[in-house]
């Protein structure tokens, strides 16, 4: 610690150059943080999805309608504990750029299906008590400045109501804590299925999916097959899989995101190696006489090497801290822009490892030169 002021003074010897170097490294780490958040979000989407919850949808697509009556048949399949009907109701509200994911469901069914949802019993009761009621997650409440008592117009693209418009007024009766790990109902708006079903102009008594909770996740694939056998040769053949499998398929459908993200981040840091390396080497050259003076005063080659390398480490760690913190600050903006939940995960740990490698690679050459410097040559400016 007693050498810290010496190292700090070395870093800021040329304030403009150091500031520019910091900006370039910070920018790279902002990008790194956002990209890591994206890939980490995808990973978490899969890992946090429930293995004991099955999703049954039409073989055609997950927006093709299935008759509500199928719920009773599915509930009789051995191993199925709970069945919940779900209608995708998301879309813009107020303006086309303000999007809210919304699910129309039966509060009792959804609560029984997944008691891990961060919705309190009072909030479930409030939703059941008001036909046009809605529960909003804290993230969207904060994003759009919503509170209990507000009446907001949902404008789903697919669902017209009986007055011929796509405007669905709902009343906010509760704000539940966002669960970023639950990509299904953990973040968005929950509505009463009965309200939607009775008021919609078309598609009455149909849903998009049935969710089932199974007693034994190890038998999930056999139970899924049994559920699908119910509708074989019917007008609505189904496809059933676990929530985790669904999450994996969704991630795969985006393509090799992880690889693309790593390639982009790798290219950025490869370029950064040269720009920061050039700055460090130039800084080292300008300070030849100063290194020689330190050695004259009794600083060993190893001490000069360490001091120079620590400069690079502090510079990169400082920039990484600012860049990663800034990227975390940008997450809500990115989430709003891309509609996908980012997950910070281990970005700080990974980021600091990357920063350390960057510092070691870029600082090693000037540090080695400083350590090898002959005092006589250094003092003579050679």
């Amino acid at each position: 610690m007693k050498f810290l002021h010496l190292v700090w003074a070395g870093i800021w010897r040329r304030p403009v150059r150091t500031t520019l170097a910091l900006i370039s490294i910070v920018s790279a780490f902002v990008l790194f943080g956002v990209l890591q958040g994206f890939t980490s979000g995808l990973d978490k989407l899969v890992s946090a999805s429930h293995a004991d919850i099955l999703v049954t949808q039409s073989q055609v697509s997950n927006i093709d309608p299935l008759p509500v009556a199928m719920a009773q048949e599915i509930a009789r399949v051995p191993g199925v504990k709970v069945v919940a009907k779900v209608l995708y109701f998301g879309g813009p509200f107020r303006s086309p750029t303000e999007f809210i994911p919304a699910l129309a469901m039966d509060p009792d069914e959804l609560h029984a299906l997944d008691d891990r949802l961060p919705v309190t019993p009072e909030q479930w009761s409030a939703l059941k008590a008001k036909r046009t009621g809605a529960l909003v997650s804290t993230e969207y409440a904060k994003l759009y400045d919503l509170k209990v008592g507000d009446r907001i117009p949902l404008k789903p693209q697919f669902w017209a109501n009986r007055d011929g418009t796509h405007v669905w007024p709902v009343d906010i009766v509760g704000v539940y804590t966002t669960d970023p790990d639950d990509n299904f109902a953990g973040n968005g708006v929950l509505l009463n299925f009965d309200y939607v079903d009775q008021v919609r102009a078309t598609g009455a008594s149909t849903v998009n999916v049935f969710d089932e909770r199974v007693a034994d996740p190890r038998r999930a694939s056999q139970i899924a097959a049994a559920v699908d056998r119910l509708s074989t040769n019917s007008a609505h053949p189904t496809r059933t899989f676990s929530e985790r499998q669904l999450a994996q398929e969704e991630v795969s459908s985006i393509g090799q995101v992880g690889l693309a993200v790593q390639l982009i981040a790798g290219a950025v840091f490869f370029a950064l190696l040269f720009s920061v390396g050039a700055v460090m080497i130039q800084s080292g050259r300008e300070r030849t006489a100063e290194f020689a003076v330190l050695k004259t005063l009794g600083y060993t080659d190893g001490a000069v090497f360490a001091l120079t390398l620590v400069e690079a480490l502090i510079l990169c760690a400082l920039a990484a801290s600012v860049g990663l913190a800034a990227s975390r600050g940008l997450y809500p903006v990115v989430v709003k822009a891309v509609g996908f939940h980012l997950n910070a995960g281990p970005i700080f740990g990974t980021g600091f490892i990357v920063a350390a490698v960057l510092a070691l690679v870029t600082g090693a050459i000037p540090a080695w030169r400083a350590a090898r410097l002959s005092i006589v040559d250094g003092l003579a400016g050679r």
């Binding site: 010496l6 004259t296 005063l297």
Partner: protein
């Protein structure tokens, strides 16, 4: 009496491309403890090379350099660095202060290599800055100080670890006459009152007159010696 510094048969040569240039030729020199020695001679005579050998900044090609009973030509790089930090203070013509550090932080540099606490370091730094008359300038950076003040800071840095030997390479070469005399007076004070052995390279006969002995070098050999 055992001299503080003893050079025997010292040869120093450098490679210049394919050529080897011998700068010092079989040089013998003894310096007693407490002496103020001026090394004079024309440019290229080997004064600074000799000073570098005595200060442990360079190694002889041949011969031996003994300072305070230590054969410094036998020490490893690390040992020599530690020896310098304990026994030698350096003063240069162009001060060689760290431009980004304040006067007190510059003076503190040699003490960072010791086991002294921060409070003890501050106390020592304050004492030597008072000795060179720069207490009120301790927070100033070198660029905010005059040449004379910068050289005083350099002298404070040279003596803060209480070395036995002060090695000065043209310490007044960049100063006006009046300031040069102040600096030389300070070195003389350190020699006479604090008992520091001072070896100073200079071109200036006036500066050399502050020394107790003058040695002339010419073409890498001792040419003449005189008491000042």
């Amino acid at each position: 009496m055992q001299p503080l510094i003893s050079l025997k048969g010292v040869v120093k040569s450098y490679r210049r491309g394919r050529q080897t240039v011998e700068v010092l030729h079989n040089l013998d020199l003894d310096v007693a403890s407490g002496e103020f020695l001026a090394l004079m001679g024309p440019s290229g005579s080997g004064k600074t090379t000799l000073l570098n050998l005595i200060g442990g900044l360079d190694r002889p090609t041949d011969g031996e350099v003994v300072v305070g009973g230590e054969h410094i030509d036998d020490l490893s790089g690390g040992e020599l660095a530690r020896w310098r930090s304990r026994h030698v203070g350096f003063v240069f013509q162009f001060y060689n202060l760290m431009p980004t550090l304040s006067a007190e932080r510059n003076v503190e540099l040699p003490l960072l290599l010791t086991r002294l606490s921060a409070a003890e370091r501050r106390k020592s730094v304050a004492a030597v800055l008072a000795l060179v008359g720069l207490t009120d300038r301790k927070k100033h950076k070198p660029s905010e100080l005059s040449g004379g003040q910068q050289q005083r800071v350099a002298i404070a840095r040279a003596i803060v670890a209480d070395p036995t030997l002060l090695v000065c390479d043209e310490p007044t070469g960049d100063l006006d006459r009046e300031t040069a005399e102040e600096i030389l007076g300070l070195l003389q004070h350190l020699n006479r009152e604090a008992g520091k052995t001072v070896i100073m390279v200079t071109h200036d006969p006036k500066a050399a007159s502050f020394a107790s002995r003058i040695v002339h070098l010419d073409k890498g050999a001792l040419a003449a010696e005189a008491a000042a």
